[in-house]
Each structure stands twice: as C-alpha cells, then as structure tokens.
C-alpha cells in the first residue's frame, strides 16, 4: 500500500476505530442507552425508523438547499458590488461584519413572528448563516487585482466591466468554490437550529422530539444523518472546485 492509498483510507480507518472504541466503552461500562447509546443501538434505531428519518432528512435537505441557493445569489451579488467599488466596500463591509457577529439562532424567534412555524424560518436561517463567507470571498477575489494588469487592460480601452468579467470573476472563482464548501456546512447548521424550535418537520424537529421522548438512539441517528448530508455536499463542492479551477491548485499537481 503506497502513501496515497493510505491517505485516502485514513479517515475511514479512523472512523471505524472511533466507532469500535465507542462501542467497546459502552459495553464495558454498561452505559445506559438513555444517556449515551452505543453505535449498534443507534444503527438499530436508524434502521427501525428509517422511513421517518428519511422523511425528515429530505425536508432538511431541500430546505437547506433553498436557503443555500438564496445565499449564493445574494452572496455573489453583494460580493460583486463590494469587490468592484471602493466606496461600496467602505460602506457595506463594517456593517456586514457586525451583522455576521450576531448569533443567527437568535433570529429564529423573530422569523417565526414574521413567517410562522415551518419552512420560512428554516430557509432564512440557512441563508443568513451562509451568505457571508460567499460574499467575502467573491469581494476578496475581485479586489485583489494586480495594478499592472489593470494598466495593461485600461490602456487598451477596457471598461470596468471588461476588467471584472475577463479578470476579476475568473480570478475569484477559486475563492468562490472555497467559500461554498464552508457555506454549505453552515447552511445545514442554520436549518437544523431553526427546525429545533420553529418547525414540525426536519432533522432539527426530530432531534428535539426524540430527545424529549428519551429516544437517544434516534436523536443520534438524526445527528448522524445531518452530518452525513453536510459531508457529502462538502465533498461535492470540493470535487467541482478541483475540476473547474485546477489552475489555482497547481502546487498539488507537482508544479
């Protein structure tokens, strides 16, 4: 086995090892499943409630995707504006930073007042929590343009727009994909948090109801599913990033 395959399998090996230790500890100390269920118990409950879990997971998934979609649109547009104008940068950036410092979970009660219990608060929480990194990264990519290159283009009569489209946007693509990876995981956090108090469906709701019914195996199964979904989406965007902006990662390709 060479180093590369070893690297590829290392996370799986670690996962299996952790599960084995977890299982071993639960059995060795005879931990009550109401306190800390063993992996086998979680697996058992996952299978037992697979339809219920799948229904809630699907709901969480599409709600997250809608919120994330809005975050991409808003994040890209705002990032574009901020990154292409110094004035907009100066005006918007401090406010955005302050906004980003607010805990998004604190918005949920307000959103409930506005939109009621259901998908509204969940979508918006997912959006609010995930648009910021997208915006910042697009803006950074656009704002860090070499002055010489700008001179080369400006002397040819290039308009601002030309420079943005030919140079700024392609340049910010690696930043953009990088931010998507971060944003998608945040979006799942947002949806789940919101569903815990402001929904009758979704993994967040499942966690709360399973917890109050002392169904710890089910609660853990919910965590597992939301974690897996976020992980899969992360890997998806990571793969897209590598395929579309390989030029930005040439260091890893032996150059």
């Amino acid at each position: 086995m060479n180093n590369k395959t070893l690297e590829r399998w290392a996370p799986w090996a670690l996962l299996v090892l952790s599960i084995l230790i977890w299982e071993g500890l639960c059995r060795a100390f005879n931990v009550s499943e109401f306190v800390f269920p063993s992996p086998s118990r979680i697996a058992q409950q996952t299978i037992e409630f697979k339809e219920v879990i799948a229904g809630h997971a699907w709901r969480t998934f599409w709600v997250t995707m809608v919120g994330f979609g809005i975050a991409i649109v808003v994040g890209v547009l705002l990032g574009f504006v901020i990154g292409s104008s110094r004035l907009a940068y100066a005006a918007v950036y401090p406010l955005m930073t302050a906004f980003n410092a607010l805990p998004k979970a604190a918005f949920v009660p307000i959103l409930v007042v506005w939109f009621g219990i259901g998908i509204g608060p969940a979508i918006l929480t997912a959006f609010l929590i995930s648009f910021f990194p997208i915006m910042v990264n697009i803006a950074t990519g656009l704002a860090t343009l070499e002055p010489e290159l700008e001179d080369v283009l400006r002397v040819l009569g290039a308009k601002r727009w030309d420079v943005l489209v030919k140079v700024g946007l392609p340049r910010s693509m690696p930043y953009f994909y990088g931010s998507l990876k971060v944003a998608i995981t945040l979006a799942f956090v947002g949806t789940t948090v919101s569903e815990m108090t402001a929904a009758n469906e979704g993994i967040g709701y499942l966690l709360i109801s399973a917890g109050s019914a002392m169904q710890m195996g089910l609660a853990f199964a919910g965590l597992l599913v939301v974690g897996a979904m976020a992980m899969v989406m992360y890997e998806l965007f990571s793969a897209i990033e590598n395929h579309t902006t390989g030029w930005a990662h040439r260091g890893s390709q032996g150059h």
Binding site: E148, V152, L153, L156, G157, K166, W247, H255
Partner: protein, 272 residues
C-alpha cells in the same frame, strides 16, 4: 516644436494629487522630450525617480498637472490604445493558456473586439506566428505556470504586441530574469523592433541593456524626477551581443554610470 516627433512632451509636470500639487511636490518635473517615429528610447535612473510615472503619462493613464503631451500629433486625452505594455511581472492570467493570454487584448481593443468571434481563426494564426517569432512555438496550449520565467516574459511581450501597437512600453521587463535569459530576450526584442519598427520606451535600471537596445538613453534624477542627461547611442546597427564587449560600448556604459553616480552623491549630500 519639432514636426516629426511621434511622442512630444512639452514642459510636463505631474503631481499625483491636488494636495501634493498645492505643496508643489511633483513626481516628475519639467519634462521636455521628443521621440521620432520608430525610435527606441530607454530611460534609466535610480528607483523611485518617476520612470513608471513617465510611462503612465505617455499612455494616457495619467494626465499631466501642467504642460502637454502629444502622441502622433494628437494631444493625449485618455488611455492610448495604440500602445502595448509589459512589466517586470508578466501578469499572465493563470486560467488561460499562453495563446489565450496573448489573444486577450484583441478581445478588448477596437476594432478587433467587434469582430473577434468571426475572425478568431485569423487572430489565432497571428498569435501563433508571434509566439513562434519569440521562440514559444509548441507552448501555445500550455498554461503560464507551466512556463519558465523567461518564457512567461516572452508571452507577456507578445500580449503587448498582438494588436500591432505603434508604441511599446516596457517597465523593467527583464528585471526578474537571470543574465543569460535576459540577453536572449534583448535579442528577441531587438529583432521584433527591427522588423516592425514600432516606438519603444524602455524603462530599466540596467545600463548595458539600455545601451545595447536603445537609440537614445535618457537619465532621470530622483526627487525631483527630471530628465538630466540625453545620450544618443551611435553604435552601428544591427547590434550583436558581441558589441557589449567592445570598448565603445563600455565607454558609453561608464559615462552613464558616472551621471548616475554623481546624482546619487548629490542626493546623499542633500539628505544629510
């Protein structure tokens, strides 16, 4: 003024902003300069003396605070599309192949821009030919980061020349290259210029480079940024690298070196 001047600076002063202007603090002062059609000039001087400012004035990226600039008989009022620029950093776009990098100006500058799609094949052919003349045949489809520094610089010069500018502005284009590559690129630039006879304004701090390539070398002083010496280089053309080892060549380099050395001394005296 002289009728046949292609670039004509008449008492040009530039302060970077109004505040500096009010304090009479100029980046370049009282520049008078006439460049003939097809002339190769080099500007040498200590770093920070306003050489790059001079380039921005010539291309219309900056407007003079006082005086006026004519290029090709017309007053300069904005960016001059008849110029191509290359810098010390090649600043090629890493997501474009070498060929697409060279084609970039044609996607922007008129009249190529409007018919770029229809005439793409023709333009690609032109870019390939140009890349071929600088010795980059076979590298068209490589990405810039797959090329060596010298190759990137050649591609950068091709990008500056693809729209057949009347004026080529080079800001220390060979500054980051090793000595051998640098001399190789001198010859490439010499050949391109001999063939196409565009105007060249070369900003450099390599005196041998300026003497080898230019018809006229101007020496600039630092703060104030002024042209203090104009030296016509009367070495016969075509010039070969061999010429850089002749006493005539060395004498001119020494003479220029003397001017710059003297300036540095007086500069130091003022600082004390």
């Amino acid at each position: 003024m002289t009728q046949d001047a292609f670039v004509d600076f008449q008492n040009v002063w530039l302060a970077y902003n109004d505040e500096l202007l009010a304090q009479n603090h100029f980046a370049v002062e009282d520049i008078n300069l006439q460049v003939k059609q097809g002339e190769f000039i080099a500007i040498v001087g200590p770093s920070g003396c306003g050489k790059s400012t001079f380039m921005k004035l010539t291309t219309g990226l900056k407007m003079p605070s006082k005086g006026r600039i004519l290029v090709d008989g017309q007053p300069v009022t904005g960016p001059l599309k008849i110029s191509g620029m290359a810098f010390q950093a090649s600043s090629l776009l890493p997501w474009r192949t070498t060929l697409d990098n060279v084609l970039l100006p044609l996607e922007i500058v008129e009249p190529y821009r409007s018919n770029f799609k229809q005439k793409k094949a023709e333009y690609v052919e032109r870019a390939r030919k140009l890349l071929n003349t600088v010795g980059l045949a076979g590298y068209e489809d490589k990405f810039p980061w797959q090329l060596s520094g010298g190759m990137q610089q050649r591609a950068s010069i091709c990008r500056a020349l693809i729209h057949e500018p009347k004026m080529l502005l080079l800001d220390e284009p060979f500054g980051a290259l090793d000595a051998f590559t640098r001399e190789e690129l001198w010859c490439i630039l010499r050949d391109l210029w001999t063939e196409q006879k565009f105007n060249v304004i070369l900003v450099t701090h390599d005196l041998r480079e300026s003497v080898f390539l230019a018809d006229t070398v101007y020496v600039m002083s630092k703060s104030p940024g002024r042209f203090v010496v104009k030296r016509e280089i009367d070495l016969p053309r075509p010039r070969d690298l061999e010429i850089t080892y002749t006493p005539e060549f060395t004498n001119i380099v020494h003479e220029l070196r003397g001017h710059i050395g003297a300036m540095r001394k007086t500069g130091a005296a003022i600082n004390q």
